[in-house]
Symmetry: none
Subunit: 193 residues, 4 copies
DNA sequence: GATGAATGAGATTTCATTCAT
DNA sequence: AATGAATGAAATCTCATTCAT
């Protein structure tokens, strides 16, 4: 096994452990045990417990950002682009629920994480651009503030994920595709002229 | 100063401290110092640090719930009721931003809290009833799941508050009223047939 | 027992433990156990392990400084003043060998301790003044640099203490008074014209 | 580069690192990095971190001891021999201040080291013999204990070095030769009848 | 010989909670 | 009711040493 494999194993173990117990309640030793490595190795690869969390965030948001950027390139028009974003985000839950659970739980709680991650800002900027484009071509209401719209959309998305995370909303396959449809219909529909 | 005054001062200090530093990072001593009382007095009035958080939640949600219930009684129809809820929640920010900051950061994230507070569930149930009523009278789309709609609405609201909390969205008086209008237009509008 | 008693007991325990094992090899728990208090109480009174060492130094040097200042006032002439200093320092060994052992072992090793303790500088300045005075009245050689002389005297004193600390020099009562005589005869004698 | 070169580079790096940070605060990795070799290589050549310190001492004292032995052979009489020793020790500072800094800081303080290094004892024995010889030929006071005299001399010397190490005493060329003269005048002069 | 990843015991420090006054 | 000293379990982090390659 290469050294980078170990680094990756630690990161993936951290996602599982932090997701299951929350960041604060997780001990570094839990992460090491879950990764199947010695305690000290976590500190060989990462400066501190918080640096592990940051690395998780950085990568997760990196992936999400790539997906959103793809949506921005691929989508024919603003509405379709936003629809793609909704799909991408909601399907992330299906693909890696632990990671989503972690992001949902901790991002809001660690304010200084946010300062360091401009990937978050870039994702929001991308959403804003989509809304603006929709206003330019007359699809969306002109008086809507694109920044506010981006935050509302993100909030609705995140809360549906939270509902799934907390087991308060059904998250079987059909519920997930229904949520996709209804989120698009409501949020994108609500922006239309 | 009466005993109840001290109890209240501790509670209000806790709101400020938890809001500023987050619950986990706050020490009991910080709360005591902020309240201007002796360390041990916090334990005289509350069982534990977590009991303080719980008391804060209970009271805050109580107030919010009362407001939502009032909206349900007062509003002429579903759309108007939801509009009132949006107003109430967003204005809570203006009235007590620290409390809102605390709720936003901790409520959906602290699993322990949720078990004990079915008030949260009641607020969501109230929102659900409003959506259902709107579907019954043909205002809202029939295929919309009321529960999902309630979560989306709450998420959009919460995220706008978060934007204000983090200083990422403008929160002057005119921005707040614009947000009120646009949130209603988008979310309630998006639910319409 | 008053709170300050406990603080003092911790300080005195620290002197014994640091003297016996050396600062680096001593654990905070050893100090607590020696003082007969709980682990955390050390941190109730002192910021850190190093702060304890600093407090010991500050007090010990304070006492020494006071003694040297007294010698400066009391002594009839420069030679007599220096003789008094030799006596004071060597007798500190008899009175509190652990404290002397600690000072001898650690002062040179913790360079940044020295920055914080200008008491050390004051003691040296006092010695310098004595030498200068002796030069002024023709007792000591004029070409001797008073600062250098102060350092030489201190070094010879400290080394005799070290010999005692390490058990390499005899330290029974008669050896101690012989050392007093010979140190004075050699060092003060060596400065004379 | 030969294997012995590497061994030597590690030793010289250790002198610099231990001198700069102190032995306890120095990490094995610091020494390896300073030497420009791999972490593990330090352990290839030396049993442990302490073995490195020991090797440094052994060599340094070996050199010093040789110099003192030379002084004992070369010097015409006791006073001249001691004068030579003073010169040798003080000039070691000019030649390798890091090494001197390290010896000054650690040698008399690390109890473990002393047991293993009887070279230290030999150097002191050599000084004692010189003093005794001086007493035998009537140069030095008969009542002076040769062992105590050796320790005093060493202490005065060491302290002047310490003053230079700490930057508290001037150590330019003229100050160094003045110190040589004055140390001899005071210490050796003080022993005379 | 040379490398640096891997190990884990052990240290400091934190802080919720208890308790004597 | 009110105080704040006292407790000690539990966490993070360090780093000398080992070992596979």
């Amino acid at each position: 096994m290469t050294a980078d494999d170990k680094r990756r194993r630690i990161l993936e173990a951290a996602v599982r452990v932090f997701a299951a117990q929350g960041y604060d309640a997780s001990r570094v030793g839990d992460v090491a045990k879950e990764a199947g490595v010695a305690y000290g190795l976590v500190y060989h690869y990462y400066e501190s417990k918080e640096a592990v969390l940051e690395a998780v965030f950085r990568e997760a948001w990196g992936r999400l950002l790539a997906a959103v950027a793809l949506a921005e390139e691929t989508g024919a028009n603003a509405a379709e682009q936003l629809e793609l974003v909704v799909k991408i985000v909601l399907r992330a839950w299906r693909d890696d629920p632990d990671l989503v659970r972690l992001l949902v739980r901790e991002v809001t709680r660690n304010p200084h994480i946010q300062d360091e991650l401009d990937e978050i800002g870039q994702a929001f900027a991308s959403l804003e651009r989509m809304v603006s484009r929709g206003q330019a071509d007359g699809t969306f209401r002109a008086e809507l503030d694109p920044k506010l719209a981006a935050w509302m959309l993100y909030g609705a998305l995140e809360e549906v994920l939270t509902g799934w995370v907390l087991g308060q909303l059904p998250d079987d396959a059909s519920a997930v595709s229904a949520a996709e449809r209804e989120l698009t219909a409501t949020m994108v529909g609500g922006m239309r002229t």
